[in-house]
Symmetry: C3
Subunit: 304 residues, 3 copies
């Protein structure tokens, strides 16, 4: 599989498509089943595994670690991405209210917890999960640099940060922010126009795309926008002679892959067959006109 | 009282809370009563006095000067902030229409007028009151630098400028813009998300907050947003054992003080008792979760 | 006529007002009539001629070239501006769907086509017509630089680019983007507030204004916004003793000329009398209050 190498640092590349584990706890797999799935993904070339401390109500990283423990040698073949700074209300976090916490104490604690839960020494990429209005950039940068210096984190990035939020944190950080993971899909193409992806391209950050299928709305929702996209995808499947269900999925992925900022879509299915089908998007050549046809379907209007 | 020192220049610091005089002419105080109030504020550590040429229909600076004349030695204990570039329609300005004027002639004239009205030689901080679509950054920068060179103005800043407007003016100015005074409150938290406060933090400008109580709406308005904030504040007063009225005011101030950009709230009451009560916010420790509870009350929704 | 010299490059200046040829094919002029009109414009000092490959369904550049062939010596007196990167659906382009194309192949082909159609060796200014979500800044910059190196294009610019889109392309380009042609008028003053014109001023790009009369809405539409502007213009005509129809047009141009970013309005009429009348705007002194009166008429509200 093609890989996206960061040009900001010499020792990081991501697989062209990442494997999202935010629903790992929902898949009802035994540890052995999980490790088998991981290995299959690795064998397919999908080496970037995307997690966060809060996924599965704080349990996904443990589920991941439990599996990895069965075959620890898989770890070396992976890039493990995790995130912190959201605190969800509930017993697991002890928080009364959903909030963000980019304090040094919390970030350090969260990273150490994640490493412990996953049973690894280092995460390849730590992302700050959400921009925090209370972010003290200087204090946060210092803690992030320490975590890298201690070897707990290899590289740094952000998620859902707007350009000005990236600029602020980067201004205090001596290490580059190498990734911004944002929501992008045919039903959420705004980041292609409002500067988010341009900022990534300009500063050579790799954008990862969460919810590349808009949480499934792309294929099954019945609101007007979704129906328009479904029709667009189905028409293109027909003209290309693709089976509708897998074809639509492939086109939705290919549409993201075609973007010049080198978007890495995060696919979060636990169904191997579906994942394999989606990977076929990598072999698709989506023409420029096809790309704009899908964009038009997504936005419901022509370009200006 | 704690002070906020500019890190852009060596000789400017503001008191953690500023005293806003935009209603000075409404307070119906004699010059002697005014100077007494000023001295009480100074004794409490509130040394930053905020004015503008247009306040009180162009009369506040004269009222201020009249009082200061009774005890001129107070001047040395103050940082006097004033603003220009708005021209209000009416007899006082001779303007037919409310407009902005950042021309060299107007800015110089306005500053000289303000100094004369206040009876001082120099203002510590001159802010351009509003971004002017007709701002010629180069010409304006030249005049501002001259005013500093002549000693009429010690430091420069802006008010209500969006980041791109700050960037433009700063690009032509050899002196740093040290302050941006913007509207921020529990009912106007947008500047915490849209880049205004991030830009301040990044460029080390001190943000001052005008209308920190949203013009009183925070405590007495009966629209849905205001009622939600009132409930939030009252609930927190109760859980902290604070008297409701002063507690709400203190929490609203403490909420601003908690922000990492070092917001200096501008309090514009002429009631000493109320001012003293508000200053107690400086001693409050507002927890992160409490901060987000109040944010949620202000925005009417959870964080993403 | 006054000229606007680029301060980014030494060998480009535009006439204070540009001549827009986007309706050239509608004017029903013979080649001889066209060249006569061009010469009259040049004699009036309007030397900047604005075109695009797509104007007149891809026929304007040919109409222009046909005329220029009759008197080739006029070319030296002109700055010829053209644009590419939009592909309109239809026979002329062979495209199925309106879309943008900033690929090297398309841009090079479009420029070479434009030169051939106009019968010239070099265009003075090539603008990318619209920001393209699929813009690969690095690849595009390389092609643009080659086109300049080959002498096919003298200088580079953009059109309808937002600041972050300019920043991205400029970050990969060793030559300066000297112009951004955007929509600005009394009925579309947003670029004066959202950063578009501030970005031009900051980076010393010359803004050209398309649709300076909002496609005629300024004078003849009957929506509420247009009527308000018409009233504002008419009242000012009266107070200045101007004939209403030409006066309104002159004021609308003078309003743009008054902006400190040195906006070059693009006038697209084929009626010489009307053009001459509009040029009288250059002699108008629009006062600051008058400028804000017209702004208020355009926005339907006072300044803050």
């Amino acid at each position: 599989m093609q890989r996206i190498a960061s040009t900001l640092v010499s020792d990081l590349s991501l697989s062209r498509i990442a494997f999202g584990l935010w629903r790992l706890t929902d898949w009802q797999y035994s540890p052995a089943e999980r490790v088998a799935l991981f290995e299959q993904m690795l064998d397919l070339g999908v080496t970037t595994f995307d997690l966060a401390d809060i996924y599965g109500d704080y349990r996904c990283e443990r589920f991941f670690g439990e599996a990895l423990k069965l075959k620890p040698q898989l770890r070396e073949r992976m890039e493990i991405v995790s995130k912190c700074s959201i605190r969800l209300a509930g017993e697991a976090s002890g928080a009364r209210i959903n909030h963000y916490d980019t304090s040094g104490t919390h970030v350090r604690g969260a990273v150490e917890n994640s490493l412990r839960d996953m049973g690894i020494e280092q995460m390849d990429l730590l992302l700050l999960h959400r921009p925090d209005p209370l972010m003290d950039a200087e204090a946060l940068a210092a803690v992030l640099e320490q975590l890298v210096a201690e070897g707990k984190v290899k590289h740094l990035g952000v998620s859902n940060f707007l350009p000005h939020q990236v600029d602020l944190l980067q201004s205090r950080l001596s290490l580059p922010l190498v990734v911004n993971q944002v929501e992008v899909s045919l039903l959420h193409s705004l980041p292609m126009f409002d500067g988010q992806l341009d900022h990534c391209q300009q500063h050579r950050m790799i954008p990862m795309a969460w919810s590349p299928f808009a949480g499934g709305r792309l294929f099954s929702a019945d609101d007007a926008d979704a129906i328009r996209v479904q029709k667009g995808l189905h028409a293109m499947c027909e003209s290309r002679g693709l089976e509708t269900e897998t074809g639509a999925m492939q086109l939705a992925v290919a549409w993201l892959l075609r973007h010049p900022a080198n978007i890495v879509p995060v696919l979060g299915s636990g169904n191997l067959q579906r994942l394999v089908a989606a990977l076929a998007a990598l072999e698709m050549e989506l023409g420029r006109e096809e790309w704009f046809e899908l964009l038009r379907a997504g936005r419901g209007r022509d370009v200006d």
